[in-house]
């Protein structure tokens, strides 16, 4: 499973998750500002960005190891 194609698929999903997370955070904050109702959206966005970051770090670590 450590093939180049698998690594690239993970890289693509990492970038997508980070973009989607950023988009959710920006759209939610633009509509309701900083309020209690925006917390779930912001946490979801943060989790998406964290997963994307985690996969990016994994990708670069595996590339550096090769």
């Amino acid at each position: 499973m450590r093939s180049e194609a698998y690594a690239r698929a993970r890289l693509a999903s990492a970038v997508l998750f980070m973009l989607l997370g950023t988009s959710i955070a920006v759209r939610t904050l633009l509509v309701a500002g900083l309020s209690l109702a925006t917390i779930p959206g912001c946490v979801l966005a943060a989790a998406m960005i964290a997963l994307g970051g985690f996969r990016l770090r994994d990708y670069f670590a595996s590339r550096a190891a090769r």
């Binding site: 997508l16 989607l20 988009s23 309701a32 979801l44 985690f54």
Partner: protein, 552 residues
């Protein structure tokens, strides 16, 4: 089942087969995913039905507790890579009695797992084959679920399990499918203003919010699979933390995404009016009795563009994933019972293997039998009008799937509470075991001359899961009675068994944990960790000898 495993190397007899370590990092991820990933298919509709406009808050609270639980399991599974999971950690950290109680609570969860996921599997299939619908044809639904459980029990007795490759394929397809659904949903139909509006206008009562939180935890149950994978993974101490964190984040994202989408998505198709002819919102439609068993499939079919395709395959994919999860309940319960029997927490009959198939036939038959009893209790109100009136009078008319959800939440919250305490105890009592992964935010302390780290996140997680346990007890009439009754009856049985065998009833037997840990690390191929452990043990012995010599 290829070979019968026990919870730990100390428990294994020399002639007993051990598990082959052949699980890859992706295999380890997919193993966990096929178990925990199926939960959202069941949990979404139940939580929407209970917590309404605060469903995302319920998932958020339960999700944060789940992150703490996941981190605890990751630390413990990497330090003690054995298949027993929570039961083994509690047994090792807190001794025999608590090891039994935690294991018994896990067994409750596994038996519920068998029924709940088989039930939900048929609910998802009913979206393609309407005759299987629970609300329209309760007897057909009941018989088919019964046959599924019987079939799984038979397959497990004759030793057939789904292959690792099949597990990986289904998990891979589901990750891609769920990611696509949420991308299309968030890009084309998610409206933040609708989400805010729903949260403000459909905010539940505190009672319903507590009910929703207690049901939301069922979307995150199944972390035992991390430990089960640990026993069969090569170099688990380095692989498990990486795959677990990815698994934890993926599951959290799916749960939060679906709940936010359900509350803030403009559906692609018009939602049919309710039974009284009133217009209803998407979240309300997903949480009603017709759809709460298959909410993910209904939500997916309402995602713009992709929904046309999703309506065709999501019910089938969900049903397969749920069937795998139900099977993991059959397999897991027999494995835990077998392991508990090996440590003399349960009678030795649970270790009896079939002479031909070499599988723990008594364990499988017993816990599938419990699952059938739970199925009957869950289905009875729909099958028999007098029982329906009885449930309506005494249990607020809970439906079958909610009844199962209650018990599932109780078992999970009870066993996870003990795991947090065990983690703290093991940090103090077994500081010499190397931990390649530690929960973040620790306070360094000195304990008996050793440096130990007190885990703050474990305390937060413990408070979170105990609050969920309290919510379960407050809000679920059936869970409040059946859950503690299960524990109490099991505990009485445990005391009788220990007395008959002449074993200490309220104390633990003597265990050689040092030898056990060396065996565990050796079998895992973690030889560096084993050397480190031996050095730590030697240093601790020297320190204690010095301390002893300095005292008069």
């Amino acid at each position: 089942m290829a070979g019968v495993s026990t919870a730990g190397p100390t428990l294994r007899r020399p002639e007993e087969p051990s598990l082959r370590r052949s699980v890859t990092p992706w295999g380890s991820f997919s193993w966990g995913y096929s178990d925990v990933g199926a939960d959202i298919f069941v949990g979404l509709g139940l939580v929407l039905g209970a917590a309404a406009g605060a469903s995302n808050i319920a998932f958020l609270f339960a999700g944060l507790v789940y992150v703490c639980i996941g981190l605890a399991y990751t630390e413990l599974a990497a330090a003690y890579p054995v298949a027993g999971g929570g039961q083994y950690f509690v047994f090792r950290g807190l001794g025999d009695i608590f090891g039994f109680i935690a294991g018994w609570a896990v067994l409750l969860d596994f038996t519920i797992d068998i029924v709940l996921f088989a039930w939900s599997c048929i609910d998802y299939l009913s979206k393609l084959i309407p005759i299987l619908s629970f609300t329209a044809h309760p007897w057909v639904h009941f018989i088919v679920v019964f046959l599924v459980i019987g079939g799984l029990a038979t397959l497990n007795i004759i030793g057939v399990r789904e292959s690792s490759a099949f597990n990986e394929l289904v998990s891979g397809m589901d990750v891609v499918s769920e990611t696509t659904i949420l991308f299309f949903g968030f890009l084309f139909a998610f409206q933040p203003q609708l989400l805010i509006h729903t949260m403000q206008t459909a905010w539940p009562t505190p009672f319903n919010l507590m009910n929703g939180v207690s049901l939301a935890i069922i979307s995150f149950v199944g972390l035992e699979s991390i430990s089960q994978a640990a026993q069969e993974t090569q170099r688990p101490a380095s692989v498990i933390p990486r795959t677990s964190i990815s698994l934890i984040l993926t599951i959290l994202i799916f749960a939060l995404s679906y709940s936010n989408l359900a509350l803030g998505m403009q559906p692609w198709h018009a939602i049919p009016p309710d039974a009284h002819g009133h217009a209803q919102a998407l979240w309300h439609y997903l949480g009603n009795e017709d759809n709460n068993g298959a909410a993910v499939a209904v939500l997916a079919s309402n995602v713009p563009y992709f929904g046309a395709l999703a309506a065709l395959y999501v019910p089938l994919l969900g049903a397969i994933l749920l069937l795998i999860s139900s099977n993991s309940g059959v397999f897991g319960s027999s494995r835990i019972a077998y392991a508990m029997s090996g440590t003399r927490l349960l009678p030795s009959i649970f270790q009896r293997v079939h002479p031909r198939f070499r599988t723990p036939v008594v364990s499988i038959a017993t816990f599938c039998g419990f699952a059938i009893i739970e199925l009957i209790f869950a289905a009875l109100p729909s099958l028999s009008p007098p029982v329906h009136h009885l449930y309506a009078r005494f249990f607020r008319g809970e439906d079958g799937i909610t009844f199962l959800g209650d018990l599932y939440a109780f078992g999970a919250a009870a066993s996870y509470s003990f795991v947090f305490i065990a983690l703290i105890a093991l940090r103090f009592n077994d500081s010499q075991s190397p931990r390649r992964f530690k929960m973040p935010f620790n306070i360094p302390l000195q304990y008996k001359g050793n440096r130990v780290e007190f885990p703050i996140v474990a305390v937060i997680g413990f408070l979170g899961i105990v609050s969920i346990l309290v919510f379960t007890m407050i809000t679920h009439e059936i869970g409040r009675i059946a859950g503690p009754s299960w524990i109490l009856l099991g505990f009485i049985g445990y005391l009788v068994y220990r007395k008959r065998k002449g074993l200490p009833m309220f104390r633990s037997q003597k265990h050689d944990w040092r030898r056990a840990q060396i065996n565990i690390l050796q079998e895992a191929g973690e030889l560096e960790m084993m050397d480190e452990y031996l050095v730590n043990v030697k240093r601790m012995d020297e320190q204690q000898a010095l301390l002893g010599a300095s005292q008069p």
